[in-house]
């Protein structure tokens, strides 16, 4: 059986449990999920098109030479930089990373990309500064960038 179906079944069973326990809350659940779907699907549509463009126009050699194991530590750094400036939602990060992986990117570079894409958001920077101040934001983002680099090396050792 397809794994997707299994996940879907689990989600539906949980939803039924929720409905049996509290129908009002379950309506709220569907509202939250629906709202999220409205934000996530258009972004995914764009990402899927970009995935198509990447896999048609960017050769395996290009990705491998930028993000492949042969690049070593520089590959991690490039992955991190791409993730830092990529304006993608977490739900879209993984499918896109999958394309890069298939095109020959190393797991460590993928790790760098995924982590910075989720943790260092250029788009959420303004509100982070507003709430926590510049010093906080500088420390958090810089230490994240540096730590991810070292963690990616661990990933390389284990997955490489």
């Amino acid at each position: 059986m397809d794994v997707g179906i299994i996940y879907l079944l689990v989600a539906l069973i949980l939803l039924i449990f929720s409905a049996v326990k509290d129908i009002k809350k379950t309506k709220e659940v569907l509202k939250v999920s629906g709202k999220m779907a409205l934000t996530v699907f258009p972004v995914l549509f764009l990402i899927f098109i970009l995935m198509g463009v990447t896999s048609v126009f960017v050769s395996k050699e290009t990705i491998a030479s930028w993000l492949g194991s042969g690049r070593g530590l520089l590959g991690i750094l490039i992955g991190e930089l791409v993730g830092t400036f990529a304006l993608v939602q977490p739900a879209a990060v993984f499918p896109f990373a999958g394309v890069l992986l298939n095109k020959g990117a190393s797991y460590s570079a993928i790790f760098g990309f995924v982590m910075t894409a989720i943790l260092i958001g250029i788009s959420t920077l303004p509100i982070e500064i507003k709430f926590f101040g510049k010093r906080f934001v500088i420390v958090r983002n810089f230490s994240t960038f540096i730590l991810v680099f070292f963690l990616a090396m661990i990933v390389e050792v284990i997955m490489g």
Binding site: V29, P42, F45, F94, P95, G121, F131, R140, S143
Partner: protein, 182 residues
């Protein structure tokens, strides 16, 4: 709601424009792009719907507000470890999480706590099925298990760099006390 639809429209327009340009320049490549996009879509759609439902369930049954407030009351190492673990499993956007954490911070939680919280929150456990599908379970598991020590470390670093040391502070083994800062 209006803002969401407007944003959605922009994404769709940009995507269609890119696709159209490719198709005009080279129709065969346009078809290929469509094929790749369609394959990715069919691969992900069931998982994404499941994930959306589960995130909805988490948000309604375990509201972030209650959880964060509960976490904010914990101090010391216990607080730091909880802040590095629990947020892995919750959803919510930055627009919800940041104001909440700010409130907790003002109420006396340590900066280390907030830093660890934000970092662990990026673990995104609800998205694990998606990650496993596209990057493999080994990678997903490894990334997931690295997040917790990572969050703790970020907390410790921020404590070192951002929290003002008090004269009474002990040197080596510092106690993590949120009360200290007041």
């Amino acid at each position: 709601m209006k803002k969401i639809t407007k944003e959605a429209l922009i994404y769709i327009i940009v995507a269609v424009t890119i696709w159209a340009i490719v198709a005009i320049v080279s129709p065969s490549k346009g078809v290929l792009v469509g094929k790749v996009a369609y394959n990715a879509f069919t691969k992900a759609i069931e998982i994404i719907i499941a994930v959306l439902i589960i995130i909805g369930l988490i948000q309604v049954w375990i509201p972030t507000q209650t959880l964060s407030k509960f976490l904010g009351k914990e101090s010391g190492w216990k607080g730091l470890i909880l802040a590095s673990t629990i947020p892995l499993f919750i959803g919510g956007s930055a627009f919800v999480i940041f104001p909440l954490l700010k409130t907790i911070l003002d109420k006396g939680a340590s900066i280390a706590f907030v830093m660890a919280f934000i970092t662990a929150w990026a673990g995104k456990a609800p998205l694990l099925p998606l990650e496993t599908e596209f990057l493999g379970w080994k990678f997903a598991l490894l990334r997931f298990s690295l997040i917790i020590p990572f969050a703790i470390l970020i907390g410790l670093i921020s404590r070192l760099l951002l929290e003002k040391p008090k004269s009474s502070n002990t040197g080596g083994k510092g106690t993590f006390n949120a009360e200290e800062r007041r």
